[in-house]
């Protein structure tokens, strides 16, 4: 009985670890798809415009964005060597990394919120290796990653 109890505990821990690793894997899949979509979009736009965009009009990845209301007063201090910046805001702000921007641009094809059209799902699958396509299909339908575990465990407490 003691061994049974220990195994139950160990199983719960392992399942929680698998759940977290699956979420991390899905986040990496989103990153891969978003990066590849961005590269394809930029390649297509340069091909159609026959020229790269003017250097001052684009921002290379990686970057982060600090965004705040247009009414916010921002006080900025910069060290001489530009290695230190101090920003004071008189209102709240947000910070987002480039992955979040790509998601908002639609580069992750709606996979992040389970709103992926069949055509986008086809494109998304083409951007990952075959072994990861099942994850993409799961993300596209918005299924939570625990459901796939229940199939594995086969009892109620999944």
């Amino acid at each position: 009985a003691q061994e049974c109890q220990n195994l139950e505990l160990e199983k719960q821990k392992r399942m929680e670890r698998i759940r977290q690793k699956r979420a991390q894997l899905q986040e990496l899949i989103l990153q891969q798809i978003a990066f590849k979509s961005l590269v394809q979009r930029n390649q297509a736009s340069e091909a159609s415009s026959q020229a790269p965009p003017p250097p001052g009009s684009v921002i290379q990845l990686p970057f982060i964005i600090l965004n705040t209301s247009v009414r916010t007063v921002i006080d900025c201090s910069i060290s001489n060597d530009k290695c230190e910046y101090l920003f004071n805001f008189d209102n709240t702000f947000e910070i987002h990394d480039d992955i979040e921007i790509l998601k908002r641009m639609g580069m992750s094809l709606g996979l992040e919120n389970g709103k992926c059209s069949p055509e986008n799902l086809r494109v998304a699958k083409s951007l990952v290796p075959k072994s990861l396509e099942t994850y993409v299909t799961g993300m596209a339908s918005g299924s939570t990653h625990t459901s796939s575990l229940s199939g594995l465990c086969g009892d109620q407490d999944c």
């Binding site: 392992r14 894997l25 990496l28 921002i59 004071n88 805001f89 921007i101 990861l132």
Partner: protein
């Protein structure tokens, strides 16, 4: 007898979960490597940019500061405290040990 059967059942489950976890670990490692190689790839990295328009469209009318900083640059956000004027002060400081940080103000105008 029932407990013994349960122990056998759980052991079988643990074996399957262990395989699943190993599979996840290898897929995660592969993906990390793939994303890393994309950032190193000279052709891909040439097209890894967003336009100012892209960024403005992602935020509805906010003031935007784009920060491009060397790897390892530390960003700190102290927990906001009430200032003398009774208004909360929100602060961000950036510190790079290796190279200058670029900050660009972006807004639609």
């Amino acid at each position: 007898k029932e407990t013994l059967e349960r122990v056998e059942f759980l052991k079988a489950q643990m074996a399957e979960l262990e395989l699943r976890e190993q599979e996840l670990d290898s897929q995660k490692a592969w993906l990390q490597q793939s994303i890393e190689s994309m950032t190193q790839d000279p052709v891909d990295s040439r097209f890894k940019y967003v336009t100012h328009e892209d960024i403005c469209n992602a935020f509805n009318g906010d003031t935007l500061l784009a920060v491009i900083a060397p790897s390892g640059t530390q960003l700190e956000v102290p927990v906001p405290e009430m200032g003398q004027s009774g208004q909360k002060k929100y602060q961000v400081n950036l510190r790079s040990q290796s190279a200058p940080i670029q900050v660009m103000l972006i807004n639609r105008e």
